[in-house]
């Protein structure tokens, strides 16, 4: 029992776990993740694809064994940190004792020692009196470096997993001028959207107006990639965009008028028999010398010369037609006027927990600070006696030794 506990908390076990996580990550990065089964069959053949999916390598980072490895790493880190903590707390005293007990490493005369002491004080060492003389110490906070590093890794793993496991995102599209109502009644109105800014640079920005369910809070913000809107417990991202056709329909018989967005093929009809069948919106066209049109289907996202491909259906006869913006087709008492297309945003709405995110980002900061302590705040003690000095540290402190040698050698001005 004790032996297995010792193994569980050992650095060797920790390193084995890290190697396994690393090896699986390599596999996960080489095999495309979360694709359809057919993609794997096409890429690797049926037999290998079956094996691959049986092993869960199509979603490797969520397999039970990958998560179990993470869990074991957490346990290993926790045990290792807890069990080493008392030693960390007493490490300063221990180093002082070692310094006091150490024998003189570098003999010096009194002038050299004086220069050295000045050097030590000017380099952040604190003088402490000891039975054997003076001990100058520095960076004892650094003793906590590796403890805090491991603690912060645990922290980030824990809160990072919680954040990743509780994603509450929804992807929605909204037409300019229209609004979305979220489950708690929050309303998000898209006031406008543009792909390019005034100078023709790609911008993808939506102006949103968010209003809380009780109407007491509201916020207007232009969002774009990298600039989401935070409103209540939501974060709203500019995720995608699209271009939709628009048609104004006027019914002279009832003297009514309506404007519709056309995002997919549809049949616009009042009686279900006669009307306009919208097939697609094209970004541009080319017209040859004989007046024939070739429709352009580029994917750059802009619609410089939009054109609607439609069919008019009247009395059982269907005719293919191209309609250009501001062109009106009249079918009986109904006018269909095709308008300039509208660009619209695809928004990602995320439910955020400020506590979880705050904790995660705190972990990030803590780890950076802890690593700094580990690497750049190396604890050291210099025991100075009448005949010389000695340097002690749990780590290599070549720089201090060299600097002290140089400081000692310097001629007095």
């Amino acid at each position: 029992m004790r032996r297995s506990l010792r193994f569980f908390r050992s650095m060797r076990f920790g390193m084995i776990l890290l190697v396994l996580v690393m090896a699986l990550s390599v596999v996960g990065s080489l095999i495309p993740q979360k694709e359809q089964a057919m993609t794997y069959v096409r890429a690797y053949g049926a037999e290998k694809a079956t094996l691959l999916m049986a092993l869960g390598w199509n979603d490797l980072f969520h397999t039970w064994y990958f998560l179990a490895l993470e869990g074991l790493l957490c346990i290993n880190l926790l045990l290792c940190s807890i069990l080493r903590f008392p030693r960390t707390v007493h490490a300063g005293e221990q180093l002082m004792k070692t310094a006091e007990d150490s024998s003189t490493e570098t003999p010096c005369d009194s002038a050299q020692l004086q220069r050295m002491k000045e050097f030590l004080i000017s380099h952040g060492f604190r003088k402490r009196n000891a039975a054997t003389g003076e001990v100058y110490t520095r960076h004892f906070l650094g003793f906590y470096g590796s403890f805090l590093t491991h603690l912060s890794i645990l922290w980030v793993l824990l809160f990072g997993s919680l954040v990743l496991m509780t994603p509450q995102t929804e992807d929605l599209t909204v037409m300019p001028g229209e609004s979305l109502v979220l489950s708690d009644g929050t309303r998000i109105l898209c006031e406008s959207f543009h792909i390019e800014d005034g100078q023709g640079k790609l911008d993808y920005a939506s102006t949103l107006h968010a209003i809380s369910a009780d109407g007491k809070q509201e916020k207007i913000q232009e969002i774009r990639v990298n600039e989401p809107m935070r409103f209540g417990n939501y974060k709203v991202y500019q995720q995608t965009y699209g271009t939709a056709g628009r048609v104004r329909i006027v019914n002279h018989a009832t003297e009514t008028e309506d404007t519709l967005f056309l995002t997919e093929s549809c049949f616009l009809s009042i009686d279900g028999q006669n009307g306009v069948y919208f097939e697609a919106l094209y970004p541009g066209f080319v017209q040859d010398d004989d007046g024939n049109y070739t429709l352009v289907t580029n994917t750059s996202g802009s619609y410089p010369d939009p054109v609607y491909r439609i069919q008019t259906i009247a009395e059982g006869m269907s005719t293919s037609v191209l309609a250009f913006p501001e062109e009106t087709l009249s079918l009986g008492e109904i006018d269909f006027t095709f308008l300039l297309p509208a660009e619209y945003p695809g928004l990602r709405i995320k439910h955020v927990s400020s506590v979880l995110y705050g904790a995660l980002y705190f972990g990030f900061g803590l780890m950076i600070a802890a690593l700094y302590l580990c690497f750049f705040m190396v604890p050291a003690a210099v025991s100075v006696r009448e005949d010389g000095y000695s340097v002690v540290s749990p780590k290599e402190v070549q720089e201090i030794r060299e600097a002290l040698t140089i400081a000692g050698k310097e001629e007095e001005p």
Binding site: V21, M22, V26, S29, L202, Y357, F375
Partner: protein, 266 residues
């Protein structure tokens, strides 16, 4: 203005050659001349980067060419910094060819200056990419020192030799710096990804390989605490680790496209 870029490339090459001659013939005058050349190359390189930054209206680190150029520039800065501290000739012997090789890689990338694409317009851009350049540079120097260590060992030096110990130690210190900066790269990337795409981690190949590299260096740091691993084994580890860095930097863009694939655009 690209003349400045190519001039710096040539000068870095010349510096590396003069340095090799100086070190192998043990001529201090030659190594001094190499450092001077390296400084000239650095001035030309900096001039080019500043010009490019002014023309682009942003920090020139936005695509594979600019990043590689920044990476080479960071190697020179760290090389000089480390040399100033320890006066170890091997820091320069490692930094000179490393900066030349990385800049040569840049020379094969599309050099056109383009607008920053919307996903890159972020306050995190400079921190994330700047720390990546310096982190990779520290790892490059550490690997260079590892090569130096192995070469000196082959020449019959004993591993208790003080110069070898210094190389081993400097290589370790560079890994410490690189590791800290790589942690900054990963975290700033996570925060940025959350701002841009809503998820702080998506197991995108670039992210995954940065993590793989980070774990490898974590293993390096732990293994170094074992006395018998110091020296030769650490030198080998630093070289293997740097191969992972290169794969994260260039290989992923070429072979494993993902969210970061904009980095390959010219």
């Amino acid at each position: 203005m690209s003349i400045l870029f190519f001039a710096s490339l040539i000068v870095y090459f010349a510096a590396a050659m003069v340095q090799f001659s100086g070190v192998s013939m043990k001529k201090a005058g030659l190594t001094r001349a190499a450092r001077l050349l390296f400084m000239v190359g650095f001035a030309l390189h900096s001039g080019y980067s500043i010009w490019r930054g002014i023309v682009a209206g942003r920090v020139p680190l936005a695509n594979q060419f600019e990043f590689a150029s920044g990476f080479a520039w960071a190697i020179v800065v760290l090389g000089f910094g480390l040399y100033r501290k320890g006066k170890a000739e091997w820091t320069m012997t490692a930094a000179m060819p490393a900066s030349f090789l990385v800049l040569s890689y840049a020379a094969f990338q599309p050099m056109a200056i383009k607008d920053l694409m919307p996903a890159l317009r972020s306050t995190w851009f400079v921190l994330h990419i700047g720390s990546a350049a310096f982190s990779y540079a520290a790892f490059a120097i550490s690997a260079g020192l590892g090569v130096g260590y192995l070469l000196m060992l082959r020449k019959g030096k004993d591993d208790s030799d003080s110069r070898l110990k210094q190389l081993d130690y400097l290589g370790y210190r560079m890994v410490c710096l690189g590791f800290l900066l790589l942690t900054v790269v990963i975290f700033s990337g996570a925060i940025w990804a959350e701002q841009a795409w809503s998820s702080w981690w998506s197991w995108d190949p670039k992210e995954t390989w940065a993590l793989i590299t980070w774990i490898f260096y974590a293993i390096y740091l732990h293994q170094r605490m074992r006395r018998k691993w110091q020296g030769k084994r650490m030198a080998w580890l630093s070289i293997v680790a740097f191969i992972l860095v290169i794969f994260t930097f260039a290989g992923v863009n070429l072979l494993l496209p993902g969210l970061h694939s904009y980095a390959t655009q010219g």
